[in-house]
Amino acid sequence: MLKVVNLTKKFEKTQALDRVNLDINKGDRIVIIGPSGCGKSTLLRCINGLETPTSGQIIYNGKNIEKRDKNKFRQKVGMVFQSYNLFNHLTVKENITLAPVKLKLLTEEQALQKANELLKSIKLLPKINEYPQNLSGGEKQRIAIVRSLMLSPDILLFDEPTSALDPEMINEVLELMTKIAKKGMTMVVVSHEMTFAESFATRVIFMDEGKIIEMGSPDQIFNHPKGERLQMFLNKIKS
């Protein structure tokens, strides 16, 4: 479905990504782990074009994504951010219906109906007319996920979706992600939640210094790590 080919990203001094190759297939649930600064967030941001790669390609359904179809491509690849990034001046309803209506994917009524259904399914329908400032972190993140779902994307990218949350709110977000996964959504998640990764992922990727070091099933990565770097990383987060 989506292929990352030889992706390299250099910032002024640092090499954030170094010839990364990755195949994402339909129904994959990939969790990317690694020490901070290893390039995992940059990889996600390159995939949906928030960063322009220094070299390499993103190939989606056999087509190389060039600048001019970036916006169309992004409708199909949703992104959830660590800091939620809800639109502060808009209500929950406006936040989630803005894009599909303005992009003419849905009419206003259709969008509203879909918003109602989705909000109901996460039990946040009573908050439909609230502004983001009146929501808890967990609520904000769940609304942000719903906002991405409104476009019926093929792939959802999650950039540390629970890192900014208070501990008691982490589960509600992870539960929603699991629920979406059960419906067959293709997901790529950058996360520090190892227990979640173990039960959720179909594939786990360990990155360090801009490279994919190890890739495999959760069992392979967490219980039978091959390389020294992964072993060290796992030991560090266990202790």
């Binding site: 074009g49 990034n85 803005l98």
Partner: protein, 223 residues
Amino acid sequence: MDNLYRTIIYDQRYLLILDGLKNTLIITIGATILGVIIGLIIALIKNNYKENKKYKFLNILANLYVTVIRGTPALLQLMIIYYIIFKTSTINILFIGILAFGINSGAYVSEIFRTGIESIDKGQMEAGKSLGLSYSQIMRYIILPQAIKNAMPALGNEFVTLIKETSVAGYIGIRDLTKAGDIIASRTYDYFLPLIITAIIYLTLTLGITKLLKKFERRNNNA
């Protein structure tokens, strides 16, 4: 008492003051509207260049405009527009005033908008992009509504500043409030009262409007 009578009542001189006040307000309001339009366009050109590297030439022009306007006196700009650009035309002099002060104000307003836009967390732009919205849609529906709200207090200050700045309009023969005071003084041969009265009117205006803006701001913040 006699002085006060001669300054305000005699020969219906209060009409001069009222007319001056009217002209001052017309120029200020007109220039503010023009300044906001110019300022918004300039700020958008600059932001578009910064975000998308588009319209480099327009960006250079925009920078040149802001640099020249902010680096030269408003009075000089007014004189250049009146004596050079509209030298032979019979265009309404108030219109020239609005144009000159509007062009002047636009440079300052563009900086107000630029700061307003840059004060918006970059996550807002990224969230818009990640939903597949185009740059112009993101600006229109997400960034500008928030940026303009943040810029309102500074825009209010700019309006108050303009009220005072337009006092040099008399230089090209516009009968604004300051000029009215000046005319009355030259007829009564007494500068004290006319100028003090003019000053009090300015002060009332600026204080009143500042207070009004503060009230408006508070209500906005509560919403």
